[in-house]
């Protein structure tokens, strides 16, 4: 079966054929987009179902597993693939109405972005990871600038400079790793990495941390994100916050567990840096007036929680962290899509502009409120369950300080998200004229916010997928044997 490679190949093929299709018929572009996204989602579902039974290893071009590139789909990759499938489909449907600028370019870039993110989560080869990482970065820069406003060009340039720096550090780390292990395949790298001198290993860790950390917004390296989100279209914000940042974090987690293992030193770095990240981000988010900036800072904060949970290095910590990663993807996408609807219909971009919208657009506002409550961490939504699991895991491993700050962070986020809810449900001065909203904008938002509620009430749905993640992360020999086909 060649389905695993199709997960990457299909969006790539769609991206490049859209331009040719447009020459023949302009109407076909959107039709092909929807068909391709639907097929892609179906393929992902079938692969994920297969991977839940047994992890899949796919050798590209039938090369020997040490020479060629392999795709590895264990539970963690399968979870990422599922998240990518759901979010990408929702965002593509949403874009059919939302995007009225440079349509063709937008779809080409989006499909390239999806292919890149998918590649990052499935690949079993270090350099292949870098190539997909750069595909994601370059398409992101272009997507930020696509609205051709002043803010979007500045955001894109800032993003580009930071992205180039992060790419340079990742590349440096990869070539150093190759030099000390003589391999690029994850399995061989992991097996040989222990022999490297301590100093080199520490250097490589720092380079990976800076490189990927710039992309997933560790706190001193986060400054680009709010500016970028301001000028970008809301549909890209949902993709970026839900997928791009998460894929970088995924790659970092994978590399840290495979190459270094969770030693006490690394564990403490990740835990306390995670705590610092979410505290600073929450405090900065509190001062924001602009909705997109607020959500941007909130995205950074959630990264902090995931870092903290993954850094614990225990089974419960990894489960909590990966569950929060999945949940945050859903919640952030809902919020950005909802905010996108507000800005598309009435041009609201600041918190004050939301006044009265709760009455004129009750259903969309309700969906946004659900996602807001979920991201604060109130029961019965999914955010509550994952934050509770994080708290519990931190308590068990006796990182009491870290555990203490998890509810503090929730309180802080309650502070600024309440401002949003309050603005939504306070009366505006004049009567608001709201034109009816197209179903293509509404339905993806509803579906994602319903997913937040369902995941909170029946967590077993996704926990079944997640319970196997620690098996391949904690004991890297499992992953190595899987990749080498032993």
């Amino acid at each position: 079966m060649d389905t695993p490679v199709l997960l990457i190949a299909l969006p790539l093929l769609t991206a490049f054929s859209l331009g040719i299709i447009k020459i023949f018929s302009k109407k076909m572009v959107k039709v092909v987009t929807v068909i391709s996204a639907t097929v892609h989602l179906a393929l992902i579902m079938s692969v994920v179902r297969e991977a839940m039974q047994r992890p899949i290893v796919y050798h590209l071009g039938d090369w020997d597993n040490l020479l060629g590139i392999s795709l590895v789909i264990d539970s963690f990759s399968a979870m990422m693939a599922l998240l990518i499938g759901v979010l990408a489909y929702a965002v593509i449907i949403y874009s059919l109405v939302y995007v009225d600028f440079h349509e063709l370019k937008y779809y080409v870039l989006s499909f390239l972005l999806i292919a890149g993110v998918m590649g990052m989560s499935l690949t079993g080869d270090l350099f292949n990871l870098y190539v997909f990482f750069e595909i994601v970065s370059i398409t992101s820069y272009a997507l930020v600038a696509i609205k051709e406003e002043k803010a979007s060009f500045e955001g894109a340039f800032k993003y580009l400079v930071m992205g180039m720096l992060s790419g340079a550090f990742v590349l440096l780390a990869i070539i150093l790793t190759y030099q000390v292990t003589g391999a690029l395949n994850f399995a061989q790298v992991a097996a040989n990495f222990g022999d490297a001198p301590m100093l080199v290993r520490q250097t490589i860790f720092v380079f990976f941390l800076i490189g990927f950390g710039t992309k997933f917004c560790l706190v001193p390296l986060h400054a680009w994100l709010p500016d970028v989100y301001c000028g970008a279209p809301a549909s890209f914000n949902a993709l970026s916050s839900g997928l791009v940042i998460k894929a970088s974090l995924y790659a970092f987690i994978r590399i840290v567990y495979l190459l270094f293992g969770m030693t006490t030193g690394i564990s403490q770095v990740m835990i306390y840096w995670g705590v610092l990240t979410f505290l600073v981000a929450h405090i900065l988010a509190y001062q924001q007036e602009s909705l997109k900036r607020l959500l941007g800072y909130s995205s950074i904060a959630q990264i902090g929680y995931i870092m903290l949970a993954i850094g614990l290095g225990t089974e419960s910590g990894i489960i909590a962290g990966s569950y929060h990663l999945f949940n945050d993807g859903l919640m952030k996408a809902t919020l950005f899509l909802g905010v996108g609807i507000f800005s598309y219909t009435v041009g609201a971009s600041k918190i004050d502009d939301l006044k009265g919208l709760g009455f004129s657009m009750p259903k969309v506002s309700f969906a946004v409120v659900i996602a807001t409550l979920a991201i604060i961490g109130l029961p019965p939504f999914n955010g509550f369950i994952s934050k509770w699991l994080i708290l519990q895991a931190a308590w068990e491993t006796e990182y009491i300080v870290a555990a203490f700050f998890v509810p503090i962070g929730s309180l802080l986020s309650l502070g600024y998200y309440l401002k949003v809810i309050k603005a939504l449900y306070s009366r505006a001065e004049g009567e608001l004229e709201v034109k009816p909203i197209d179903w293509k904008l509404r339905v993806p938002t509803y579906v994602l916010s319903a997913a937040c509620l369902v995941m909170g009430i029946i967590p077993n749905l996704s926990l079944a997928l997640i319970t196997n993640i620690p098996k391949f992360l904690l004991d890297s020999s499992n992953y190595i044997n899987l990749l080498l086909g032993r």
Binding site: F127, V131, E134, S137, I138, Y141, A142, A145, E148, K150, F153, E154, A156, F157, L160, V161, G163, M164, L165, G167, A168, L171, L172, I175, Y178, Q179, L184
Partner: protein, 114 residues
């Protein structure tokens, strides 16, 4: 060998310094270019073996004692292509920014933004 590594470190640091201190957008683009070249040079240095030959098997199939490592060379090609794509995108963005603000200096752009 040590001097080569030193040269690469100096190039990398120079690129980083330009990015961090200069106001002109074109110069920032150049700084990024310098930094990338440093990394690509590092690739080549790592694959270099003194006295090694190119890793190509010919018809005589004579045994090679020493070959240079081909993998970093292949990787550096990929890295150069990625770098070229990003530089092109960056220059395109700079043109767009220049058309809007009629200046290339970050300070003045900030002033115009108000």
């Amino acid at each position: 060998m040590e001097t080569t590594f030193l040269a690469i470190a100096v190039l990398f640091g120079l690129g980083l310094y330009i990015i961090l201190t200069h106001q002109n957008l074109i110069k920032i683009a150049m700084g990024i270019g310098v930094m990338e070249s440093a990394i690509i040079l590092l690739f080549i240095i790592f694959s270099y073996r003194p006295g090694g030959t190119a890793p190509i098997l010919d018809a005589d199939a004579q045994a090679y004692d020493l070959i240079v490592d081909p993998i970093p060379q292949a990787l550096s090609l990929t890295a150069i292509v990625i770098g070229a794509a990003t530089t092109a995108l960056m220059l395109a963005l700079i043109i767009k920014i220049y058309n809007r603000y009629n200046t290339l200096y970050i300070d003045e752009i900030k002033k115009l933004k108000g």
